[in-house]
C-alpha cells in the first residue's frame, strides 16, 4: 500500500509532551530605512527587513561599539530567499514500518539555494527513525525545542535534519532533489518542514547587550527558516486519538488558510466535523464519512485518516 502526496502538504505533530509551538518572543519591527526612524522607535536597535530576508541592527549611538568606529547600521543577510516545496510518498514495509520519501523543489522565484532542511518530529523515547544518507545525509536532534511553525497550537518537537556535505551542490533556484527518506514505526501526521541555505548568520559578539536583548526572537532555531506544511512520522505507539485528531485538525485548517484545500469541499467539511466531535464521543469506533475525497490532496488526507483512525471512506 502506498500513499502518494504531491504538492505543498504535510501532516504534523503529536501532543505527548511539550508546549505549544507559538513563538515565545515578539518579532522585531520592520526596518523603516536609515533616515526614517520614528520617535517611538528610538530605543529599538534590531529590525527585520520587509522581505524578512535580513536583520538590520542599528548600533546604540552612545555605546562603546559605536565609538569604536565600526558601522552604525549593520545588515545581516539571512540567505533565506527560498521557495521550497516538498512532496512526500508514504509506503508501508512488511515489518509495518512506515517509509516516507521526500522530494524537495526550490521554485524559480528563489534567489538563494537550499543547503539544509529539517522535519519536526515528536520527541519520543526509544523511537529511532532511520534516515537516508546519500549525497545529503540525515541526522537527528534530541531536545524538543523545534516549533511547529505551520501549526502553532501543536507541541514542539525535535528535528530530523539533512545537510549537504562540502562539494555537493545545494538545491538552487528551479532545482529539485529526491532521495530524502525516513523509515519509522510512527504513522503519518501533519508536520513542519524547515528550509534554510545552511549559511550561518554570525552576529558580532561585541555588539552591546541592548542589541542582544532585542534579538531574543532570533534565538528561536526555526526563525529565518522557510516553513512548509508536509507529512511526517508523527504518531508513534501510544498516541491518543485526541492528539491525532488535534494534529489533523490543525493541518487541515492550515491547508484551508493557505487555500490548498477548498473550504466548500464536502469531504473536508465531513472530516473536520468528525475530527472535532467524534474522537471523544466515540473512542475506538471507525469513522464513516459521507462524501468521497476529490483530488489528489484530499485523497492523501483520506489515506492518512484511514491509517490513523480507521476511517471508512466511500
Amino acid at each position: 500500500m502506498t500513499i502518494r502526496i504531491v504538492g505543498l502538504i504535510g501532516f504534523a505533530c503529536l501532543a505527548l509532551f511539550g508546549q505549544p509551538s507559538a513563538a515565545s518572543s515578539p518579532e522585531a519591527p520592520q526596518w523603516p530605512g536609515a533616515g526614517s526612524l520614528s520617535k517611538s522607535l528610538e530605543g529599538q536597535y534590531v529590525f527585520v527587513t520587509p522581505e524578512r530576508d535580513a536583520l538590520m541592527i542599528r548600533v546604540p549611538p552612545n555605546s562603546d561599539y559605536a565609538r569604536s568606529g565600526k558601522p552604525g547600521i549593520i545588515r545581516y543577510d539571512l540567505h533565506n530567499r527560498l521557495r521550497p516545496a516538498v512532496a512526500v510518498r508514504l509506503s508501508v514495509t512488511q515489518k509495518v514500518n512506515y517509509v516516507y520519501e521526500y522530494a524537495v523543489d526550490n521554485a524559480t522565484p528563489a534567489s538563494d539555494s537550499i543547503g539544509t532542511w529539517s522535519l519536526v518530529i515528536p520527541s519520543v523515547d526509544g523511537e529511532k527513525p532511520v534516515m537516508s544518507c546519500g549525497e545529503w545525509c540525515g541526522g537527528l536532534s534530541f531536545a524538543p525545542i523545534i516549533r511547529q511553525v505551520e501549526m502553532p497550537d501543536q507541541p514542539k518537537g525535535r528535528a530530523v535534519m539533512w545537510t549537504r556535505p562540502n562539494g555537493i551542490s545545494p538545491i538552487g533556484p528551479s532545482e529539485s532533489r529526491r532521495g530524502f527518506r525516513i523509515e519509522s514505526s510512527c504513522r503519518p501526521g501533519f508536520t513542519t518542514a524547515l528550509f534554510s541555505s545552511g549559511i550561518w548568520v554570525n552576529i558580532d559578539q561585541d555588539l552591546p547587550n541592548e542589541v542582544f536583548k532585542q534579538l531574543e526572537f532570533f534565538n528561536d532555531p526555526t526563525w529565518g527558516n522557510i516553513p512548509v506544511l508536509t507529512f511526517g512520522p508523527m504518531f508513534c505507539a501510544g498516541s491518543s486519538r485526541q492528539a491525532i485528531a488535534g494534529n489533523l485538525i490543525s493541518g487541515i485548517k492550515r491547508l484551508l488558510e493557505t487555500k490548498r484545500l477548498d473550504p466548500k469541499s464536502e469531504f473536508v467539511r465531513d472530516v473536520l466535523a468528525w475530527l472535532i466531535s467524534e474522537p471523544e464521543n466515540n473512542p475506538g469506533e471507525a469513522a464513516h464519512v459521507g462524501h468521497s475525497p476529490s483530488g489528489e490532496l484530499e485523497a492523501e488526507i483520506a489515506k492518512a485518516l484511514e491509517l490513523n483512525l480507521s476511517f471508512k471512506i466511500p
Binding site: 539544509t116 545525509c137 540525515g138 531536545a143 550561518w200
Partner: protein, 296 residues
C-alpha cells in the same frame, strides 16, 4: 588560657558547617564552594579551650588565594595580581558572646581560597583559617573520549596557562528536563547529530569548555592579560569550541575538523543560543546560555 575558633554555631553558607577549625593553614579545599561574584554573610564565634565564648575579643580577618588552583597555572609572576575574595570587616570586636559578623565577597576567578582570622584577648591570640573555594557547583568534568578529542592544552602543544587538556573540560549540567539536562548534554547531543549527518566522522576536537568550577577563563594569562577577559563566554561551563575546517593549529587531525556551519546548526537544534553561537573561522563556538545570564 588559650583560645580556639569554633565553627559549630555559624557558617558563611547555611548548608555548610565546614568553616575553620584548624590553627594552621591546611590543604586547599573546594568545599564550601561559593559562586563567583557573590556575597555571603554569616556569623562566627570565638571560644576558649573549655568551649566558653570569649567576650569582646579583638578580631582581624583577611583572605588569600592558593596559587595554581582552579586550573590557573600562570606561574608566580601572575600571583601578585591574583584577585582574591574580599572579607568585611577586616577588623572588629566580638560581642559579649564572642560572636561577630562576616561578609565575604567573591571575585570572578574560580580557585581555592582561604579566610585567615585572628582572635585575641588580654590573655592570648589564636590564628585560625577556613578553606573554601570560588566557583560554580553545577559544572562537571565533561570528557567523552569516544567522541571528543581533547585539544587546547599543554599536552597538545598549547599553553594558555591552564595546564593540560584535562583542565579546560568542564561544562554545566542542569536538572533533568531542562533542554535534556543542560549544556554538557547539549554539546554531546549536538555531536551525535553532527555525526549522523557526516558519515565517517566519529570524533571531533573540543576545546575551552570551562576551567574546573568555572569562573574567569583568562585565555591570555600568559600574554600579559591574566585574570581578565577575553573569552568571557567560557566563564560558566555553557560554551565549547569545536575545531573546524580551516584550523591550522595541527592539534586536530584533518579528518576530525568539522564543517562549522553544520556543527553550529546541530548545536542550535540541541539547545544552543543562536545569537551567541558563532563561526569563529577556525572553530565553531557553541554557546548554550547567553553570556548575559552570568557575571563577567
Amino acid at each position: 588560657m588559650s583560645i580556639k575558633l569554633n565553627s559549630a554555631v555559624c557558617s558563611l553558607m547555611a548548608a555548610s558547617v565546614s568553616m575553620f577549625n584548624a590553627n594552621t593553614l591546611t590543604a586547599q579545599s573546594y568545599s564550601p564552594l561559593y559562586a563567583p561574584q557573590s556575597s555571603i554573610s554569616g556569623q562566627y564565634q570565638c571560644v576558649d579551650q573549655y568551649n566558653h565564648p570569649v567576650p569582646n575579643a579583638s578580631i582581624t580577618m583577611s583572605t588569600g588565594a592558593y596559587v595554581s588552583s582552579g586550573g590557573h597555572f600562570h606561574g608566580t609572576s601572575n600571583s601578585a595580581t591574583e584577585p582574591v575574595s574580599s572579607v568585611s570587616p577586616t577588623s572588629t570586636t566580638a560581642d559579649s558572646n564572642g560572636i561577630w559578623s562576616v561578609t565575604l565577597t567573591t571575585t570572578l576567578v574560580g580557585q581555592a581560597e582561604v579566610l585567615l582570622i585572628t582572635c585575641s584577648n588580654g590573655v592570648g591570640t589564636l590564628n585560625g583559617s577556613a578553606n573554601y573555594a570560588v566557583g560554580y557547583n553545577d559544572v562537571y568534568y565533561a570528557d567523552h573520549p569516544d567522541i571528543w578529542i581533547k585539544i587546547g592544552g599543554t599536552d597538545t602543544g598549547v599553553d594558555t596557562g591552564h595546564g593540560s587538556t584535562s583542565y579546560n573540560r568542564y561544562m554545566q549540567v542542569l536538572p533533568p528536563g531542562i533542554l535534556n539536562s543542560g549544556p554538557a548534554y547539549g554539546l554531546y547531543n549536538a555531536t551525535l547529530s553532527y555525526f549522523s549527518n557526516h558519515p565517517g566522522v566519529s570524533q571531533v576536537c573540543t576545546n575551552d569548555m570551562a576551567l574546573p568550577f568555572g569562573g574567569k577563563f583568562d585565555i591570555k594569562a600568559l600574554l600579559g592579560q591574566p585574570w581578565v577577559s577575553p573569552h568571557t563566554a567560557h566563564d560558566r561551563g555553557t560554551a565549547a569550541d569545536v575545531a573546524g575546517q580551516g584550523s591550522t593549529s595541527n592539534q586536530c587531525p584533518a579528518a576530525n575538523l568539522v564543517n562549522i556551519s553544520d556543527f553550529l546548526a546541530a548545536c542550535v537544534a540541541n539547545g544552543a543560543v543562536k545569537v551567541n553561537s558563532v563561526n569563529e573561522f577556525n572553530h565553531a563556538h557553541c554557546q548554550f546560555a547567553s553570556p548575559t545570564t552570568f557575571p563577567h
